[in-house]
């Protein structure tokens, strides 16, 4: 069977089209629709239809009904002329957008469901591909990445940390924030605020550095050897409190073995083990500069890095700094999963489960031949793993496997 039959594109297109005949009604236009650029990828198409503009929601819905695109996007940016070529659009401003994608994380579950193969020598392995192929030293790989409830939970956790930073530190109102499940492996957070709209690229890069904790230096977190007054920072807002809380937790919960494993300076390691309670009580009751005497400069850097990692939110750096980025339109289908990109009210986020909520093709079954797929938990049931077999599956599962090009319809 020829390669391009994997995924049964024509079938999937028909299903998308069937979906949009009623589903398009539920697509809401983004605010200021007339100033937004839209972009779509069609099935089988390799280039994006960009520079599309709509006058109103109805026109947008009609487009979705007529073309049933595999992927639908809109711009975070506002333009005078969204239909004009890029240089003539007239940029007015842009929402502040964050993309959290479990693809960028390092998670134990990826060792179960992701694989890589070296294009040069065929060496293969689990999880993320290595920097260089251990077999031949080259660095060109094919990757097969899947996802599971684990990855999605991890992505959600990062989104929650991000929301906390945006509200507590940046002072955005919850009503200015929107959280969307991306329809695949992550979440998007949009900030629509007059304070965010005009930020230039440099400013957005600073926001990214803030969220990721890039460039944090001990000295400016109060961990200075200068004689300064002041009390504990444990309860402080911003990174000030976050780093100190993380240090406190970290030192508090680490066993002597774990501390030794960090390979800190000799005296620091000894003090962290022997004077642990003293250090913790200093952090609790006094200014953080008080603990500098126990921890040498290099070790402090390492400890801080570990602390920051835990507290930062793992956002994509490119999406947020791109002033003209297109981002998925809520309530449209994701062509690589057959799931919905879906708005999640902030108060529902803790209990939100995309593997049941974002499923679009809820009814019916389909018979498919599957070449290979790991286990997948969908709508509360576990399916697979599959290996070269024909199965009659619920439509949601069949569509998911088809969209990932790991199966084809059997007629």
């Amino acid at each position: 069977m020829a390669e391009q039959d994997w995924g049964s594109e024509q079938y999937v297109l028909e299903q998308f089209s069937r979906f949009y005949s009623t589903g398009a009604q539920h697509v809401e236009a983004p605010t200021e629709i007339k100033q937004r650029e839209f972009g779509f990828l069609s099935f089988g198409g390799r280039t994006m239809f960009r520079h599309i503009g709509f006058e109103d929601t109805e026109e947008l819905r009609r487009y979705l009904r007529n073309y049933s695109p595999a992927h639908s996007y809109f711009s975070g940016a506002y333009y005078e002329e969204p239909r004009a070529p890029m240089a003539e659009k007239g940029w007015i401003g842009a929402d502040l957008i964050f993309d959290i994608d479990a693809d960028h994380f390092y998670l134990p579950c990826q060792k179960i469901h992701d694989t890589w193969t070296c294009k040069t020598c065929g060496e293969a392995g689990k999880g993320h591909p290595p920097e260089r192929c251990p077999g031949c030293g080259k660095a060109t790989f094919t990757e097969e990445n899947w996802l599971c409830e684990n990855c999605l939970e991890a992505a959600k956790y990062e989104a929650q940390k991000l929301l906390d930073i945006l509200i507590q530190d940046f002072g955005f109102q919850p009503s200015e924030l929107t959280v969307n499940f991306s329809g695949n492996r992550g979440y998007h957070v949009h900030v629509r605020s007059p304070l965010a709209k005009g930020l230039d690229q440099l400013a957005r890069r600073e926001v990214v550095d803030y969220v990721l904790g890039i460039g944090i230096e001990a000295e400016y977190q109060g961990l200075t050897s200068r004689q300064v007054g002041g009390g504990s920072m444990l309860g402080r807002g911003g990174w000030r409190g976050r780093t100190i809380r993380a240090l406190y937790d970290f030192i508090g919960k680490s066993t002597p073995e774990e501390i030794k494993a960090l390979k800190l300076g000799r005296n620091t390691t000894r003090d962290l083990i022997e004077k642990k309670d003293e250090i913790l009580s200093s952090l609790m009751n006094q200014h953080p500069s008080r603990i500098v005497r126990y921890i040498d400069k290099k070790s402090m850097g390492k400890l801080l890095d570990a602390a920051v990692d835990e507290q930062a939110s793992a956002i994509d750096t490119v999406v947020t700094t791109d002033l003209r980025r297109l981002i998925r339109l809520p309530n449209t289908l994701h062509g690589k999963t057959g799931w919905l990109t879906q708005n999640v009210p902030m108060e529902d986020l803790p209990d939100y489960d995309p593997l049941t909520m974002a499923v679009a093709f809820k009814e019916g079954t389909e018979k498919v031949y599957i070449r290979r797929a790991p286990e997948i938990n969908l709508q509360g049931e576990v399916y697979g793993p599959f290996e070269e077999e024909t199965r009659e599956l619920p439509l949601a599962v069949a569509m998911f496997l088809l969209c990932r090009k790991s199966a084809r319809v059997v007629r």
Binding site: T120, L195, R205, G213, G215, G222, G230, G238
Partner: protein, 360 residues
């Protein structure tokens, strides 16, 4: 209304501009010998910008000080040197900053709010032994501080809560300097270039000469003409070696590497071949992209590689070395390293710029 002295200190403020306009001076008036002092002071302002990058205030004669500012602007506009627009604006902004830092908190707040639209609150808070007197909304903060390279200006290293960044008085005046610089740069570059008559034209000409004498000192030394791969900074070396091994580079790595190679003088064909031979990129498309970055197409601007801080954000910065602590730009690293290498090889006698013909 603003006092004459205040206007002389801060002649770019809206009230000061109104005051000058009310005097209704024409070009003719300025050419009158009675205004020679104004022209002299204006010339001095521009000359100080060129020579020192910082004008010193002369508040003894406030009206001359005030009037010489728009005249100095006129000189700079007439000279039509992009580089000088920025340098003059900086020089005037630094002068103003020197005066601002002795103003009261209330006065600073008033200028910041009324002239530059800042959302600023007065507070009184001690942190790490420093006294913080202001809280500034992050968007106003970032507009001015996002370009600063010192770590203490990064918002991660500041106390920010509810969108407000804690600032000392000195820091507020430093941020105001940025606003002032932008305003003045805008003033001198926005106007149309004109040729000035009589004594005004004479002043412009003599300033032009001063500028030419200083041009090469100000615009910096050149890079060597030969490519010295051993002098690549760690980030570029990492991306370069990754590319050779067939690694799929991120957009930022690709852009950073390409613009770096172009800037250090690698041949376009060579770069195209490099990309085509190790990836499955289409030659025509690759060439188009590279020529675009080299400024041979499209907007015709030659791109310089991103700064270290951009590389850090996008995790392109890789295993920074000792030298990295003292530089802000990968090209800067390259420049220093090339000089070190050449010196080691005995190609260089002193700390003269590389690739000059004077080596013995």
């Amino acid at each position: 209304m603003i006092s004459e002295r205040e206007a002389a200190k801060y002649p770019f403020l809206n009230d000061a501009v109104t005051l000058v306009e009310a005097l209704g001076l024409t070009l003719e008036d300025l050419m009158d010998p009675g205004h020679a002092k104004v022209l002299d002071r204006a010339e001095r302002r521009v000359a100080q910008a060129i020579m020192k990058g910082e004008a010193s205030p002369e508040l003894g004669d406030t009206i001359t000080e005030l009037l010489s500012f728009p005249v100095g602007n006129m000189f700079v506009t007439a000279m039509g040197e992009q580089f000088l627009f920025r340098r003059y604006a900086l020089s005037e902004a630094v002068r103003a900053q020197g005066l601002l830092k002795d103003e009261t908190e209330e006065r600073l707040a008033k200028i910041a709010r009324l002239e530059f639209g800042w959302t600023l609150r007065l507070v009184d808070e001690r942190l790490d032994g420093r006294l913080y007197r202001f809280e500034l909304l992050f968007k106003d903060y970032l507009r001015n501080a996002a370009g600063f390279r010192e770590p203490e200006w990064k918002i991660v290293n500041r106390l920010m809560r509810g969108g407000y960044v804690l600032l000392t008085r000195r820091e507020v005046s430093r941020l105001l300097q940025e606003e002032i610089q932008r305003r003045i740069a805008d003033l001198v570059s926005r106007r149309r270039q004109i040729s000035l008559p009589g004594p005004l034209g004479v002043k412009v000409e003599s300033l032009q000469k001063v500028f030419e004498e200083n041009r090469s000192r100000l615009t910096g030394r050149d890079l060597p003409s030969e490519l010295v791969t051993e002098a690549f900074p760690p980030c570029i070396r990492h991306a370069f070696e990754g590319l050779l091994a067939g690694k799929r580079l991120s957009h930022m790595e690709r852009f950073g590497l390409t613009s770096f190679l172009i800037n250090v003088g690698m041949d376009i064909d060579e770069i195209v071949n490099l990309f085509v031979s190790v990836t499955d990129f289409d030659e025509q498309f690759t060439r188009y992209q590279i020529e675009h970055i080299a400024g041979l197409r499209g907007s015709r601007t030659k791109y310089t590689p991103p700064t270290c801080s951009t590389f850090k954000t996008h995790s392109v910065c890789y295993n920074p070395e000792r030298l990295c602590q003292h530089i802000k730009h990968p090209l800067h690293y390259y420049r220093i390293k090339v000089r070190d290498i050449q010196r080691e090889q005995g190609l260089e006698s002193g700390d003269e710029a590389p690739n000059t013909q004077t080596t013995k």
